[in-house]
């Protein structure tokens, strides 16, 4: 494995700088196709509003994937992710505009475990709301 971050150089409490991930309707359509999740709340505004949602919302798994991308980009190797779990605490509403919306992901090293493993606490926000809660990844560093 080729994690580029070294366990010995990481401290508990260390912050991983935030990254902005843009989300537009086209991203949700592409994600629907790749994942096979064609629930119309993720692409059909009329249907979303009929079932009481404010607008089309992103797949929770799309948001989770942005958190995963944040972690794998930091650690340097997607194979270093041992555990990744989230709670979807708020919806990512994606308006039908050219700019769509943004998911901002940041992280902090929460604890260091044996065997070069660390726990990263992840924060993801969109539209002023925390969209993931209890988001944690366990990764093995170099």
């Amino acid at each position: 494995m080729a994690a580029t971050v070294k366990y010995d150089e990481v401290e508990v409490g260390q912050e991983i700088p935030p990254v902005d991930y843009p989300v537009r309707r086209i991203n949700l359509i592409q994600y629907a196709g790749a994942s096979g999740d064609f629930n119309p709340i993720h692409w059909n505004e009329r249907f979303a509003k009929q079932v009481g949602l404010p607008d089309v919302i992103a797949h929770g798994m799309y948001t989770m994937a942005q958190g995963g991308r944040f972690i794998t980009d930091w650690v340097g190797d997607p194979g270093a992710v041992l555990d990744y779990g989230v709670r979807f605490s708020s919806m990512v509403v994606v308006p039908d505009t050219d700019e769509g919306t943004t998911i901002t992901v940041s992280g902090v090293v929460e604890s260091k475990l044996e065997d070069n493993k660390v726990v990263i606490a992840i924060t993801a926000k969109s539209g002023g709301n925390r969209v993931l809660s209890k988001a944690r990844a366990v990764v093995r560093l170099a």
Partner: protein
């Protein structure tokens, strides 16, 4: 309408193994906007110490719900799909998933509970090779809004 608690503990083997391909990993990686070469290029993956391209951490969502979807769609279960949102998700890895893997999985309904007006259903899927080696375990909690009202 409350969901049928008789379904707790029921297990559903996937109808057939899932063959992980480079093409599908690339399609999924591009759909999440991630152009990490370890997802897209076998040589880059090998240079990083992997036998082939690696699947992104959330990739198993593509195939792990096929087993349980049969149960969730059973009219006796009582789920209204139009009201379903995703509550929680977790992936626990023994090793990365690679292109070329042929994977079985069995999904088990672990828990059904009411929280306020909503129903929460947690499904665990154990993903294994054809030889039975555990590769990863996924935990998927869906929420039926208003289901407990």
């Amino acid at each position: 309408m409350a969901l049928n608690r008789d379904f707790i503990g029921r297990s559903y083997p996937a109808p057939e193994p899932y063959e992980v391909s480079r093409v599908k990993i690339k399609e999924f990686a591009l759909a999440i906007g991630d152009e990490n070469p370890i997802y897209l290029n076998r040589e880059a993956a090998r240079a990083a110490g992997h036998p082939d391209v690696v699947a992104p951490p959330t990739f198993p969502i593509v195939f792990t719900l096929t087993g349980a979807s049969e149960a969730l769609a059973d009219p006796e279960f009582g789920l209204n799909f139009a009201m379903v949102v995703h509550g929680e998700q977790r992936f626990e890895y023994r090793r990365p998933i690679y292109a070329g893997d042929v994977l079985n999985h069995t999904s088990t309904i672990m828990d059904i509970r009411s929280v306020g007006r909503n129903e929460f259903v947690t499904v665990r899927s154990d993903v294994t090779t054809l030889d039975g080696e555990l590769v990863c375990t996924t935990y998927n909690t869906i929420v039926e809004r208003g289901g407990a009202a």
